[in-house]
Symmetry: C2
Subunit: 195 residues, 2 copies
DNA sequence: TCTTGTATTGAACACACGTTCAGTTAACTT
DNA sequence: AAGTTAACTGAACGTGTGTTCAATACAAGA
């Protein structure tokens, strides 16, 4: 038996990535076997190797895609003049983007250690590029006297950690809408860095 | 060959826990084998089972001990009257305590998913107890008109996420002392929740 | 010095792992 | 209708997994 009716590369490839993302996020990279991923897709383990050279590359591609999408989506946001408006946009953007991809966010913050040194560095530099976007906003705000921040680098990391934490507790259909969550976090961030 | 000179249960036990904590934090629970832990201690894998019934219980004991220590250490802190002073104490306490145990902190936030349902619930309820300590402070502050917080539950989680994030970037002997880090975060937290 | 009990070894168990590949089938091309 | 190719199977490879346990070597007590 081989090649079931109606199966194609364009379908199986994404399905493998989807299954891997969900399983890695739920159980951890090392705890998930290639056979589990294959079973989820409805295929034998060997077939996965038509789509990825090995397991680590599968993880890397997921992380890389996530970071690329994150940076591209932020680039696509309108560019405001006022640092305070830009900061508000960043806060709401980060929450919205992360709540739409909780699995990818979790992976990105938890499974970097399963990457080899080279792959690790590539993801890290994308992450730093994203952090720099926020820090630039904060620095501009300080320079214009709109914000008061003892250390913009730490403030950057603190704000991102705080915002990213949303994914750990937010549940769809819960007490609060996404917009309301955005309002609440923006209130805290704005006050935390205000002059 | 068996039982090397000068080895005792009181020594091997803690050494196993130390090695397991370090390895689990660095490589992840599932990625670390009992043989690796044993090798770190200088013992054969079978010997570990004199100290733990199985691998998951070893992880659980590490997480449980960490949470117990965390709650006990917070209990031992002076109890202030003023909510603002209590909040400042909490912020500085959390940073100080976590920076002293980066491995245990990392484990506690990353490897809960490797616990069975019962063990998971036990750790979760300890975590919730700790979060309640902070939320009580925030609520008292709001009630006395000292703080302005749209949602104390979210503020609790946001503050803890922000503070815990310190362990991901702080390096001993780096640009900032621990006290300075405490100052910076307290500045941000105070402003974020101030009336 | 001899006995007793504890800490540890080392081999074995059954199973699961990531990965490879010759073989097989369905779909596409001509 | 025949030939070609892409998609996938199923079995196998060597290695590693958590865990058990009889055998053993040391330390302490009498």
């Amino acid at each position: 038996m081989a090649r079931k009716t109606g199966s194609h590369s364009e379908i199986t490839g994404p399905r493998i990535r989807d299954a891997a993302l969900r399983l890695f996020a739920r159980y951890g990279f090392a705890a998930v076997s290639m056979r589990q991923i294959a079973a989820e897709v409805g295929v034998q383990a060997g077939a996965l190797y038509l789509y990825t050279p090995d397991k680590e590359t599968l993880l890397f591609d997921l992380l890389k895609s996530h970071m690329d999408e994150l940076l591209a989506a932020w680039e696509a946001e309108p560019k405001d003049e006022d640092p305070l408006t830009r900061l508000e946009r960043f806060v709401r953007f980060h929450i919205r983007f992360n709540l739409e991809r909780p699995d990818a966010v979790f992976l990105s913050y938890m499974e970097l250690r399963n990457l080899g040194p080279d792959n690790f560095r590539r993801i890290e530099s994308l992450r730093r590029a994203y952090e720099d976007e926020l820090e630039t906003i904060l620095r501009d705000g300080v320079r214009q006297g709109l914000l008061s921040i003892p250390d913009t680098k730490i403030a950057t990391l603190a704000i991102i950690a705080m915002l990213t934490g949303v994914t750990t507790w937010y549940r769809e259909g819960g007490r609060l809408s996404r917009d309301r969550v955005g309002d609440i976090y923006w209130d805290m961030v704005r006050k935390a860095v205000s002059a």
